[in-house]
Symmetry: C2
Subunit: 140 residues, 2 copies
């Protein structure tokens, strides 16, 4: 892996903020008041499908998805976690982990392709980022 | 794992057909003419989140998702694979692997919560099941 060559898609860069760099993925917060929403982006250029990763890196990927899921659920209790890897619009490989609550803006449908992102106010954004960073850094 | 205790949610049973029983998951075909669409269901009762599986079983799960993805792509060439684990409506843990083509019925949105399932004609259903079963049984 040559992480120096990694370039984040500008649409992901515009909508998300960096929370943590795990061994394989950057974990980013979707700046959206409607949902607790993390995006994991493996730091490889040119990746499109999960199957493009080697087997060892796939195991690392799923470990990091688990870590992110646990951290998200600890900070933002929810009724259901949603995991998605679509990439129909932004092809750079990225995985969504979303904390869903009954009655939330898109419930029970998917968050993707539903409504408009609602950016957080500055204070809320910084608080959410701080608590999620703490949870992501907490042991297992 | 006690596979004898496994009961498939009746909504999944109604919409899908069994293709193969892998070590952890049943792989089922979504009976929908709009998309090449597989659903993987771990044969455990009471599972809701991927994180409810032990670490070894999670590795098995992702191997089986990969196997299913490769088989689907071999039989139904596509522009993008979509992976999703939502469970907002049917809580029994199940993972979707969907072959997406530019311009398909829901493109570029997600398949979940979009439009109505269009059951295949009998002959098409049986042909699709036969070719997918062959691909799922093919080595690596």
């Amino acid at each position: 892996m040559n992480s120096e060559a990694f370039t984040l898609d500008p649409r992901l860069a515009a909508d998300t903020r960096l929370l943590a760099s795990l061994p394989l993925c950057d974990v980013r917060l979707m700046d959206d008041a409607r949902y607790g929403w993390l995006v994991l982006v493996p730091r490889h250029d040119g990746l499109v499908e999960i199957a493009d990763l080697g087997e060892d890196e796939q195991i690392t990927l799923w470990r990091e998805v688990n870590l992110a899921s646990r951290a998200l659920r600890a900070v933002m209790p929810c009724d259901k976690l949603n995991l998605g890897a679509l990439g129909n619009i932004v092809r750079q490989l990225h995985l969504h982990v979303v904390a869903r609550c009954e009655g939330d803006a898109g419930w029970p449908g998917p968050v993707w392709g539903h409504g408009q992102r609602q950016p957080l106010a500055d204070a809320e954004l910084h608080e959410r980022m701080a608590t999620l960073r703490q949870a992501l850094a907490a042991p297992g």
